[in-house]
Symmetry: C4
Subunit: 172 residues, 4 copies
């Protein structure tokens, strides 16, 4: 988030190699996803980012296409969510101070209609104020934080625990 009022988010442009982005290529958008600074079109999933910012007041939103979020969002899709239980690493999530915690990651069916998905996400985030992230089936993870450092910490924790969960299910 570049500013809160008026809302200005820095966001990646669509279609570019995210691994090769330079600072000057980021766009700045308003609360209606209109580009107010920069060249290009914002990420196709901008609507999800805005839904999270609106509902959670998040300062930063991060989205990954990682192996374990892709695989486990599919494995647990019939349950509509997966649970990460009893790990010390959960303590790094905002407001969690013990490993004796059950973190739920809801799983949404993936959808190209982002407005529709954003409505579902917004409903979830209002209904489940405790969640720190969610999964899109065969797509990836969304998480957020009050700032980029917190969002990044949440990504590290959740991705690590997704791998721990995945590994534990391979017969070890």
């Amino acid at each position: 988030m570049v500013s809160e009022r008026p809302l200005r988010l820095a966001i990646t442009p669509t279609g570019l190699d995210k691994g090769a982005l330079e600072a000057g290529q980021f766009l700045e958008i308003d609360e209606a996803a209109r580009v107010v600074r920069g060249n290009g079109m914002p990420s196709a999933e901008t609507g999800l980012h805005l839904a999270i910012v609106r509902t959670r007041g998040a300062g930063a939103v991060l989205h990954t296409h990682s192996l374990w979020s892709t695989v486990l969002s599919d494995v647990f899709s019939a349950d509509g969510a997966l649970a990460l239980d009893g790990f010390e690493m959960l303590k790094g999530l905002r407001d969690i101070h013990t490993h004796e915690h059950r973190e739920i990651l809801p799983i949404f069916e993936n959808c190209q209609n982002i407005a529709q998905l954003a409505t579902q996400v917004e409903a979830l985030l209002k209904h489940e104020p405790a969640v720190h992230g969610f999964l899109l089936r065969r797509h990836g993870l969304y998480t957020w934080g009050q700032d980029l450092a917190e969002a990044k910490r949440h990504v590290e924790i959740l991705e690590f625990l997704l791998e721990a969960l995945g590994r534990s299910r391979t017969g070890v």
Copy 2:
């Protein structure tokens, strides 16, 4: 592809450590695989690269010997192909705009007679215009693009999805 007409491809020389190649070591060949610039003999699989360029008009062809392409090309060899279904990452493939897509990767039996293999590959690419790549059993992946950036993106997507497929089959 260095030029289209006359056809000139830059290609790696055979026998050298690919991880240590310098720009000046690349060869330039014509449509009959004759070296027109540089020192050395072109890759032993040059015939496959030319078949792909001829049939698809590809600007760049990339070939990997990766772990998951090696393993899964063997696991699915009896089926003659493997399928990557419903992944968001499929949207990065040329002309694919939705995750609701089934990407088929045909699998050829490996063969040291490249001319024979090139004939099979050419027949496949004419018969199946939608494929973005194919596998050689216990060997690796071939993919391509209109330019190097697109070919590289295709490698990233297909290699990632091969790993996702492989992991999903280990009992997670």
Copy 3:
């Protein structure tokens, strides 16, 4: 260990990104975990580090939150320990000169009451003088050495062997 008498340990401050720490951010504490140099509060698990230094005379203590220590500490938790048998790499552990050795890593149930955990750890280390490390369930590995180089070598060996044990149990 910065000095032995009086006891002074350099330790990471709590709450900071361990991957981004600079030398000047380390704290120095005494045998009662009081900060004698530096700004901030010491690691929440300082009590465990001190228990190990007291009981073993360790010059350095290292603690990891790795994938395999997290997963296997859970898999073997009912046994209260796991065993690493017959690996050449065991020879890198202090006082071990053959692969014909069975290294036991005790597993403690994780606990937020560090004083209580430290008491258990101290009892174990007095009762089992041969152990080179222990696991906290769904948390990670603790190991130590006479200096940082030895502690680091112990981390490398134990983490490698935990992965070897984990992989061997996946049906290979």
Copy 4:
């Protein structure tokens, strides 16, 4: 190999962190493992390196403690060997020009009596002139080449194929 006649090998000293070695720390030994240049004692396994140089005329010998060589040398120990069949990557091994090849890696029981192990290794290498490497159970891989580049290429190929074999056995 620094020179062939008289035989001089450059070898790592024992006990030092191999990841931190500098060029000046390598020792030079003769055919009886006596140090002729440098400070320190040569690797504890020097006898194996010399046996390989003697029997194969190798210019370089490389030894790894990798995860898959450690795990699979144990999985297949009852068979006394493991086989790598039909992989394209086998073509990078000296004198192998087709994927239609079955590469055997003999497996020896690990032993701290290196002289005894060297005798076994020497007998094997005379009896099986085609092997490009062997495994020590729960220890690692030995391979060699006419020079360091060839030995390194052999390590890359064999380690890759060990992983491919391991992965293929995990139910993919």
